[in-house]
Structures are given as C-alpha cells and as structure tokens.
Symmetry: C2
Subunit: 224 residues, 2 copies
C-alpha cells in the first residue's frame, strides 16, 4: 500500500521550519543551517556526498537515533511533492532558467511535483528526477503523485506551508518532525491551523543526545 509520509522535517521550538527572509543567498533566511545540523552529522547525510555528486563514502557520521530516523527519508519513495518556496527563492517563477537548488542531478530520483500558482512545463533532470509543476489542491496533487509513484510511497517534502496543508487535509499517514532547541521567532510555521491534530495521530517523542527531539505522528486509524 502506498503511504504518504513526511521525513526529516526540522522545526524550531516555536514551530518554524524556516527563517526569513528566504533568498538566493540564504534559502532558510535567518535560520541559516541551524535547523539541519543534526542531520549533517549523521552517516545518512555523509552517504549523500555533498548532494551534487551522488553517494559518498559513508565512512563518517553518527549512526545513532538521528541517523536511524534520517535514513528513512530515502526508503521506499516513488514520488515527492514540494512547495514553490522549497523549489526556489522568491521570484524563481520569473527566471525561465531556474531548475531548482540541487544542480543537474537532484537527490530526489523520482517524479517530483512542485506546487505553484505559476506552473511551467516539466523538466527532466539527470538521475531519475523529473520536476512537474502543478496548480492543484493537496488531494489532487497527491493523486497525481501517487499515480506516478509506481506503488511506492509519496514524500511530502515541505516547506512548512505544504506540510501544514497536507496535515490539515488529513492526507498524511505518518510524519517525522525534528524539534531543534532554538527559538526562531519568525519564518514559516508548521503548526498554524492544525488545532486538534492529535485526534488523528498518536504522537511519540524521542530525544537524541544531539539535543533534538524526534517527534513522530502516526495516523490512528489505518487508511482504507
């Protein structure tokens, strides 16, 4: 059965998944890389190389609870859905040459659906990633991604607005959020508008020696 999952989604104590302002120079705004340092320290991340050169040596990095969670990011996915603000900095829709942050060989390696109110034709990249641009509801976007996923799972890749909208629509089967012990104060917040989310999900919290807390939300009633 194809599931819809969120993985390695980092938030601050106050629930922001990114800082502000987002820009070409600072994709996460004033948050910088602080939301992701826990992940950079894992063997999972080391094995990604620098994100542009494929699989690295995997000889470095922690293999504890941070790695165990992080590694699920790559397992069993046939498609990803992301928001316009994850795909590029503000204004990327005005640049016909913008092909995402990730260079010619993006790490997704599956059909990848970018939600935007200003869609463009698909872009086939190296390594198995094709970007499709959709102006569609979360449910319709999920139907498209599922059809393209070949029976595998669909990852909701972020940012905050998209994770929030898919949670609010009840479309997420399980979510892994990583609470980093910083207070960002501003940015894009994942929790807004999700009152009562716990009615639909069992919430588990596991702290890591690195200082982050892994929050997992498991849907209470299996999807039919």
């Amino acid at each position: 059965m194809s599931r819809t999952r969120v993985h390695n989604f980092s938030i601050s104590l106050d629930g922001f998944a990114t800082g502000e302002p987002q820009s070409l120079e600072a994709p996460f705004g004033h948050a910088g890389e602080r939301l992701h340092e826990w992940m950079f320290a894992t063997r999972f991340w080391a094995a990604q190389g620098d994100g542009s050169e494929g699989v690295g040596s995997g000889e470095v990095g922690s293999v504890g609870v941070d790695h165990a969670f992080a590694a699920q990011h790559g397992l069993g996915f046939g498609a990803e859905i992301m928001g316009a603000n994850k795909f590029g900095p503000p204004g990327w829709q005005d640049d016909p040459d913008w092909r995402g942050w990730w260079g010619p060989n993006p790490p997704f390696r599956t059909p990848t659906f970018v939600l935007t109110h200003r869609p463009r034709p698909p872009m086939e990249m190296e390594g198995g990633t094709t970007f499709y641009f959709l102006d569609a509801s979360p449910a319709d976007a999920l139907a498209a991604a599922r059809a393209a996923a070949g029976g595998q799972d669909v990852r909701i890749g972020g940012g905050a607005a998209v994770v929030r909208d898919f949670l609010a629509a009840g479309l997420v089967d399980h979510a892994h959020l990583v609470q980093v012990p910083i207070v960002l104060g501003r940015g894009s917040r994942v929790w807004d508008g999700l009152e009562g989310l716990e009615d639909g999900y069992a919430v588990e919290a596991v702290p890591s020696p690195s200082g982050v807390v892994h929050l997992t939300l498991t849907r209470r009633v299996p999807r039919a």
Copy 2:
C-alpha cells in the same frame, strides 16, 4: 542565592499555555485540563489534596520523571509572581470580592505578586499567602518579590504573557516547560518574541512515558 524559576509550565506542541476564551467556567478555555493531566497523575499532585484542604495522603500517583519534575514546584520558594489572567477570569478587576481561584487557603503560602494594570490593596489569605497587586515592570516586580522572599527563590507562576515577558527581560534563571502532545491552535503562546532565547540558555529535553516532554532551560552564564 535567590533564583528566579519557572516550574510545571505546560504548553502544547504549538506553544500555547492556555486555550481560549478564558472564563469563570473554563479557566483554560478550549484547552480544558488537557495541559495538566500529566501533573494530576503524579504523587506530587495527590499530596496537594484537592488544592483547598492542604496536604493529602500522598498514597497515590506516579513517582517517575513527571513526579520528579513536578515536585520542584514547591521547593525553596519565598514568593511568586503571576499575571492578572492567572489570578482570575476576564473582568475580575470589576469584582471587589474576587480573591483568586483557590479559595480561602491558596496553595502559594508565600507573598504572591499579581501583575495588573488595575491594582488593589493587598489581601491576606489563610495559610501564609498574601496577594499583592502591582503595576510594575518585570524587573521592578522581581525586586519587590525578592525583597519579600527572605532569601529564597522567586517563582514565575505564569500565565504565558508573564513567563514570556520575564524570559524576554533575561530575568529567569531556570525554566521547566512541559510540552504536551496536543495542538491547541489558539490561546496565549509562550514563545512569541523570544527569538534567540537559546543563546542564553542550555536546553534539555526529557520525554516521559506519559507522553509529555520535559524541557528545561538553564541559564548559560551564572547570574552575578
């Protein structure tokens, strides 16, 4: 040395310490008692009796990590500071007979300073609690409370606005927040305006089998 501490301060995943609307019938608004169930299950709480009859039997309740944290609420305090919205429901200032939620014998048993823009004369209660009403800055309120605390610690008792203001002013030595796995969506949020709080505090997270996460903030540089 007299310290300024926050204890047993419960927040939702999205950082709300109370729901809305606050009223005589529903002091925590739509949050009900959900933020405090973890505490009601502890031996610490059982030993408080029902809050109106002094110390109970202490024969029931858990003695695990929730109890260990909860019990610090009562140790070593010579004064408390609280906000107007903790002292009473909206409009209590218009009721000359309002003497707080806690009956004739409140559990504070120390001088207790209520911050309000509409102060009234002090109220001496049974059991050692006297309520003083102050329209003052956090720093001035703390000076008054410290002077009354006889060398013991000062508890910042909440609600969210007061905890936030004292954290923002750098007046808190250590804080114990309890993150309950619910999303309230609305109410009074503790994190607002605290960007960069982690610069001043080491943050530790410890989960409990009850499902809550105990967050402790320890000031990095000892106060001179």
